[in-house]
Symmetry: C2
Subunit: 310 residues, 2 copies
């Protein structure tokens, strides 16, 4: 009967059961929890939920690699402590600069080209860069159980969206290929762009200014602005996802909220609070509200596609 | 053979032929113009393209009706010339206030409630308000040929989007029912919203501040931010759509751009330049670039569903 299990990487138990029961409920025509297909909206955080976010957000690795690649043309950077720290790989000094510092470096590396040029740079990086622990492409450090969950929901006529604090144009480079999520179903943070005609060709130039931060209270705002209806299921892993889960579960009818708890130091990482990913308040609220919490170590029989099935 | 015509409200001729040939080209597997289904993105302006925009944008009528409904609770408005003009139905004085004045009134009537309250107010208005010329609901003042075009494109696996200067949450109230376009495929102007917990309930409160104006150069920006890939077909009717058509047609491969030219004073309206809708620069560019221009009077054998077929 292995072939009939839509979630083979999920061990039997209450976590898997909660997913199957929710989906059965909203798809049972005539049942008390039935939801019309067009309203079956499911939203997924990306970093730490669909793929790993350790030892740092993958987009941070991209930013740092870009800064290194650009450094030869910017000798003036050696007088800037933040840039010097990045170029030296001094993550502690970088972390001390906080979000503000990271954003500054992100702007330098993400703006100043048009949207098509940026997509090519990001795609090229994604093909060549390697994860420091797993030594494979970042797009292989994706949680196999979550891929099965995405496919299972879509087979049940859910529309699956990414709602990420990461950059929307960065995620769109790989989301369709690796998650089966088309660009128009990716919501993320973004910088300003400007339409202009350059040498007779219309382009969208990327500007070094933040337009929208799709994190914490920004997630429901982004969902409403982009999707325009409330999801019935939300999947996250950190306090940055709390408001998205609150917004989703406050709707009428059957609702589902899930947090991925990183408890597996061997196959992935074990952490609650880290510079990249913090699960604190949301874990408390999950317990109070009966949200599903994935214990990665015990609920998943494999984490990545390259893992042997345990 | 009437039943086999996907565009029965379109008269035979070069306009209809250009549409049919474009669609045949991009859907012919193995042909030189073939486009994969997931890349068949079509974007439609709303006011003047899918429904009428005369004698004023329908959302302006909504704003004015709202202001009148709210006036009894705001005696201080009688000292404000703009509000007095609106309440007196003095459209000339209102027009003199320009976009800035309209935006001010829009903010007063569109903010200060949460998103669900606003949707209910807009939906109730849409059920009861009547168009001044046609004396029917505004959602009946929709161009029948464009409904057929939407259905025809979707039957050919296009994904159809609205890209409007109008308010996104206003359009979403009726777009799914009347156009078959779900909320997540509506892009529009929007105001700021704020996530907050009110009496223990998560809400999105609408704030009196513009977040994004989805018109002229904003349309390609909105398309890129929301859809994340370039459309292959764009449909508009005014200079406000010019950049959207430029952006669409500048892509590689087969592309299609169409402008609805309002030439029918009897069945709808005849105008090029009006306070609400201006077709000037875009018409010149259409001629230069060979874009399709609909001559409403001659290309459509009926304009509205309530028209007799001519």
């Amino acid at each position: 009967m292995i072939g009939s299990d839509p979630l083979p990487s999920w061990n039997e138990g209450s976590t898997k059961k909660s997913i199957l029961e929710f989906v059965r409920g909203v798809t049972t025509a005539g049942g008390p929890s039935f939801v019309k297909p067009e309203e079956r909206i499911a939203v997924f955080d990306n970093d730490g939920t669909l793929w790993s976010e350790q030892p740092f957000y993958f987009q941070v690795a991209f930013v740092f690699d870009r800064l290194k690649a650009m450094a030869p043309e910017h000798p003036e950077w050696k007088d800037n402590p933040l840039y010097t720290a990045v170029l030296a790989g001094d993550m502690k000094a970088v972390a001390a600069g906080g979000v503000k510092g990271l954003l500054e470096v992100a702007m330098v590396t993400h703006a100043g080209m048009n949207t098509e040029e940026f997509a090519k740079i990001a795609a090229d990086w994604m093909k060549s860069a390697k994860h420091p622990k797993f030594a494979c492409c970042y797009t292989d450090v994706i949680f196999q159980p979550m891929l099965e969950l995405l496919a299972y929901l879509r087979a049940n006529l859910f529309k699956t969206f990414i709602v990420s604090g990461g950059g929307v144009e960065f995620i769109r480079v790989f989301a369709e290929k690796v998650y089966g999520i088309p660009p128009e179903q990716v919501i993320g943070s973004c910088i300003e762009t400007k339409f202009e005609i350059v040498d007779g060709v219309p382009v969208l130039t990327r500007l070094p200014a933040l337009n929208f931060m799709d994190d914490t209270v920004g997630k429901p705002v982004g969902i409403n602005r982009h999707i325009g209806r409330r999801p019935i299921a939300a999947f996250g892993n950190s306090d940055g996802d709390l408001q998205m889960l609150q917004w989703t579960t406050a709707g009428k009818g059957s609702r589902f909220a899930l947090l991925v708890h990183h408890t597996d130091a061997v196959r992935e990482y074990a952490y609650d609070v880290s510079p990249f990913g913090k699960l604190d308040v949301a874990l408390t609220e999950a317990a109070a509200k009966g949200w599903t919490v994935v214990d990665m170590k015990n609920d998943w029989n494999r984490v990545f596609a390259f893992d042997a099935v345990e």
